[in-house]
């Protein structure tokens, strides 16, 4: 995984921890976000935050298709144009 994907992963861990009001250390990047209780509509919150952070436009369902932080970070890294 590239450096930027690593950065993204770190940022996503922070975001997910803040949604859940948990310590980032408690968030695993390989666990499905639904397991943490982030439901289908919550993915839209995350999508908006990612769009603002990276200045990109994403499908609102991106977190439905890439369901762990690892998968999301890797997908976002391949999008380019960042």
């Amino acid at each position: 995984m590239s450096d930027s994907a690593d950065d993204l992963r770190g940022w996503l861990v922070q975001r997910v921890a803040s949604y859940l009001e948990k310590d980032p250390a408690e968030i695993s990047t390989s666990v499905s976000l639904t397991k943490y209780g982030l439901d289908s509509v919550y993915a839209f919150v995350m999508c908006g935050d990612i769009e603002d952070h990276l200045n990109v436009t994403l499908e609102p369902t991106v977190a439905w298709d890439y369901r762990t932080i690892d998968a999301l970070a890797e997908h976002l890294d391949t999008l380019g144009g960042r």
Partner: protein, 550 residues
């Protein structure tokens, strides 16, 4: 078109009309669908209203569909649901996700006056359809087998075909469900068992059934669209039904208002007609204003499905939220005027109590009111950040009642508006507004500014299912601003006497705690006079105000 249907169904107050209010009430007392009404709707070919023109039907604009369906709902909500809404709900999944063959098959059934059930509901999970358990899993030969139960489903037994929402994968998350389009004739009869009808307080003639499937095989090619995309299909396509159904039910309050006016003008109390009592007049004027709010917001949202389809995930849910509350409250207030007559199940006003009971479904059927707010909450910070007070103007056609619309594009609907909202910012006043209207518009502009701050301060946990009442209130206040913007701009586009828009904005401001919501005396009188005129001339009470038969 709605004129043709009105003519066919005739004057519901005419004692000689076989499909009058008395006949509707009698069918309800027998707990049966209104057979003569169904026969006439078959004759008219009502199902064609749900079928796009490209597939041989008459569906063009959603606003037009709503107008036609109000003619049904204002006579008998059980026909509205049991003849109309049920197939309409099923249809939007098929138009949105089906392939050409599936869409043609659906259209052919509709145009042959058949019924298609929309099989979604599992009592244990309510609106939480991501947790729905009913499953379709591949059997030994690779064919999908259905297992599970569905409950409180309209027309389940008499439908020829079903659109079924089912889990198609064990994985958690939002890519594990699909819709199936299944014809009963293709199923083995011993794998499907109907449950007894669920007794209900309203819609008593409508079949509200259940079903249990036990290893029931379905034909290949039954899935609508890509397997696993069912939640996305539902969130997109139900924007049509969530917008249109509450707006159709404006017809119910039209009749409620008409029944109350008949009562109030015919009955004498304390030596004068009930309608002469100031309190009664002001309630009637306010209910009329509330009906116009529902019509304006519903019509704008219906037009947005054509003009701003990427924004309607928000408007559809909030129309449902606002209109359902307004209409139920309106009927409750009217019932106070009718006194004992709203309670009595016979006689000339008996239709009122039936309408009141039937209308109850608006609060929970096809997404509960709080579920509508919860759909919008996750989007609210984005909406605030990206659009509120700063969005570009919406297209002018959005507010032109009855204006031409481009065809619906189901593929343009999205499960989230991604912060796009051009309707709320359109509430901002400009120099062209008359003083009284400008002052009222300013209240909502101010509210939108406060909402923008409040939205930014929402905690992440308030955006999900654990939202606090205060967070839900942010979404509810936002809904009120959207309703106000709809009223203001429909009036801006149409012009004319501003009395109604002053009344509508005064009512909505009251819901925000800005004023009491009571109408100023002069405005109240103008609306009451208009109401009496329309009643006397037998015209609809909605914005179009078209002539009615009789």
């Amino acid at each position: 078109m709605s004129e043709m249907l009105e003519k066919l169904l005739g004057d519901p107050w005419d004692p000689a009309n076989p499909v009058n209010h008395a006949a509707v009430v009698a069918a309800d007392e027998r707990q049966e669908m209104f057979a003569e009404g169904e026969r006439l709707l078959d004759e008219y070919g009502l199902n064609a209203e749900f079928v796009p023109v490209a597939f041989g039907g008459r569906l063009t604009g959603v606003d037009r569909l709503v107008r036609v369906m109000r003619s049904v709902w204002r006579r008998d909500p059980a026909l509205g649901l049991g003849y109309g809404a049920s197939s309409f709900i099923a249809s939007v999944n098929v138009w949105a996700a089906g392939d050409d063959g599936q869409r043609r098959a659906f259209a052919d059934l509709m145009l042959a006056n058949r019924k298609i059930a929309s099989v979604y509901h599992e009592l244990a999970h309510g609106n939480d359809f991501a947790r729905a358990e009913f499953a379709a899993t591949p059997g030994p030969g690779g064919r999908l087998l259905l297992n599970g139960r569905k409950e409180v489903v309209t027309n389940l037994e008499r439908a020829d075909s079903m659109v079924i929402f089912t889990r198609t994968s064990d994985e958690e998350g939002s890519r594990s469900h699909s819709q199936l389009f299944v014809h009963k004739a293709d199923l083995p009869p011993d794998r499907m068992t109907y449950l007894p009808r669920f007794p209900s307080s309203g819609m008593r003639g409508v079949q509200l059934g259940g079903v249990v499937f036990d290893d029931c095989p379905i034909p290949d090619g039954s899935v609508l669209g890509t397997p696993g995309r069912g939640i996305e299909t539902a969130l997109c396509s139900f924007q049509l039904t969530r917008t249109a159904l509450p707006s159709m039910m404006v017809g119910v309050v039209d009749t409620g208002l008409r029944a109350t006016l008949r009562f109030a003008t015919a009955r004498a109390l304390y030596g004068r007609s009930v309608a002469a009592i100031p309190q009664v007049r002001s309630i009637l004027a306010e209910v009329y204003a509330d009906l116009l709010i529902c019509d304006a917001f519903g019509t704008v949202a219906a037009r947005a499905l054509h003009l701003l389809p990427r924004e309607t995930s928000v408007y559809a849910s909030l129309v449902k939220y606002v209109v359902s509350k307004q209409l139920i409250d309106a009927m409750d207030r009217l019932s106070l005027i009718l006194g004992a007559h709203f309670y009595i199940r016979e006689g000339v006003y008996a239709v009122f109590q039936k309408l009141l009971r039937d209308l109850g479904v608006i609060g929970f059927g096809h997404a509960a009111r709080v579920a509508c707010l919860a759909t919008v909450l996750p989007q609210i910070r984005q909406l605030a950040r990206r659009s509120w007070l700063t969005a570009d103007e919406p297209p002018a056609g959005l507010f032109q009642i009855g204006g031409e619309l481009p065809p619906l594009d189901f593929a343009a609907l999205t499960p989230s508006a991604a912060g796009r909202d051009s309707l709320s910012t359109a509430v901002l006043p400009d120099a062209a507004l008359p003083g009284e209207v400008a002052v009222l518009a300013g209240l909502f502009a101010d509210e939108l500014g406060l909402l923008k701050q409040d939205a930014a301060e929402l905690r992440p946990r308030d955006l999900g299912v654990d939202a606090s009442p205060e967070a839900l209130r942010v979404a509810a206040r936002y809904a009120t601003v959207l309703a106000a913007s709809s009223c203001l701009n429909v009036w801006r586009a149409g012009g004319g006497d501003p009395a109604w828009v002053v009344a509508a904005l005064t009512r909505l401001a009251g819901q925000l705690g800005r004023g009491s919501g009571r109408l100023p005396e002069a405005i109240s009188r103008r609306l009451f006079d208009e109401l009496l005129d329309r009643h006397g001339e037998n015209r609809g009470f909605d914005l179009a105000g078209l002539p009615l038969p009789g």
